[in-house]
């Protein structure tokens, strides 16, 4: 018999890796399902409002932000210049600043190069899934899993955009298959996964209501940022007071 030990060790290492990649793929699946209808709609709209295939796909590769891309298409079609599109995009996407800051504590000791890449892949959906996973157990969350989540999700977004462009009017209404509900359903799941204390539930409820209220008078991207800032502030004050009382009690 041939000595198989080296191969076994190698395949065991590969199997270890593939386990982590598989975990990432499993996490990316709901994101991809959510991106599918949105990306298809974006590609179809981009094509029908006169963007070329390269313009459509490169925007999904480099910008990678659903709502901002829709806004950009509408602005381009209305004849807006690059500067006004850039300024609008900045405000529409400013909420990522909060997400990036909130995840930073889990990346102690990571290289700047890794974070430069990770930042490029940070969307509402990937943020939600990373923060839920980190909250579960940061010690077992492997970089290779993050790589798989981000890479597959981004690839899904690009392919969906391309598909939308190519199919254009040929795409069926995604609502028929319930796919338009994939993103809200995912947000619900990820929110509930992170409600570990009663205060979390209170913060979530208050922020939800505030977001609806502010959304009546402000554009949704402003309403979401303001509601999240205030909701988290409320939670922080309550915890802060509790800690103060505990200190005073000692």
């Amino acid at each position: 018999m041939i000595d198989r030990t080296p191969q076994c060790a190698a395949s065991a290492a590969l199997q270890g890796q593939s386990k982590f990649i598989f975990e990432g793929a499993k996490m990316a699946l709901p994101i991809i399902l959510g991106y599918l209808p949105v990306g298809l709609a974006y590609g179809a709209l981009a094509g029908s409002s006169g963007l070329t295939i390269w313009e459509t796909v490169l925007m999904s590769v480099f910008v990678y932000a659903g709502s901002a891309q829709f806004v950009a298409i509408a602005l381009l079609a209305a004849g807006a210049g690059p500067l006004s599109i850039t300024v609008t995009t900045f405000f529409v996407n400013l909420r990522h600043l909060l997400m990036s800051a909130a995840l930073s504590r889990y990346f102690r000791g990571y290289s700047n190069r890794w974070l430069a890449w990770f930042g490029a892949e940070l969307t509402d959906e990937s943020f939600a899934i990373h923060s839920a996973r980190f909250r579960q157990d940061p010690a077992t969350y492997q970089p290779i899993t993050m790589l798989a989540v981000n890479g597959l999700a981004h690839l899904g977004w690009i392919i969906a955009s391309l598909g939308g462009f190519l199919l254009q009017k040929g795409i069926a209404d995604p609502g028929k298959y319930g796919l338009d509900f994939a993103l809200p359903a995912m947000f619900i799941a990820l929110l509930f996964m992170q409600l570990t204390k009663r205060l979390d539930l209170l913060v979530a409820a208050a922020t939800f209501i505030l977001s609806v209220g502010l959304g009546q008078v402000l554009p949704v991207y402003w309403a979401a940022i303001l509601a999240a800032v205030c909701g988290a502030f409320f939670g922080a004050i309550v915890l802060w007071q509790k800690e103060d009382e505990q200190c005073a009690g000692k």
Binding site: P30, G119, F181, I188, L191, V203, A223
Partner: protein, 106 residues
Amino acid sequence: MRWEVAAAIVGMTLVTYLPRAIPLVVLKDRRLPRFMVLWLQFIPVAILAALLAPSLLQNGGEWSFGWQNPFVVAAIPTILVAAKTRSLMLTTFVGIGMAMIINHLW
């Protein structure tokens, strides 16, 4: 590729990328004030709740709160499954299935 579109994509990429990457790089090894640590701890829950509101209740720029909004109906079993199982996969699939049924009935 037209130059205005290329310029718009470059501009959009920069202003989207920088807010996504800078806090990660700048804050990762820094000791933050206690209050800010507490505040940041609530950001995931708060931002998810804030984004959930329009994704459920807004359709094409219009807010819709009643039962005529199929997402409101689909949200109820989805929330029950999410609260009970805390499983991402199961919740997403139940949600999609419910929405499919409701969209056919409405």
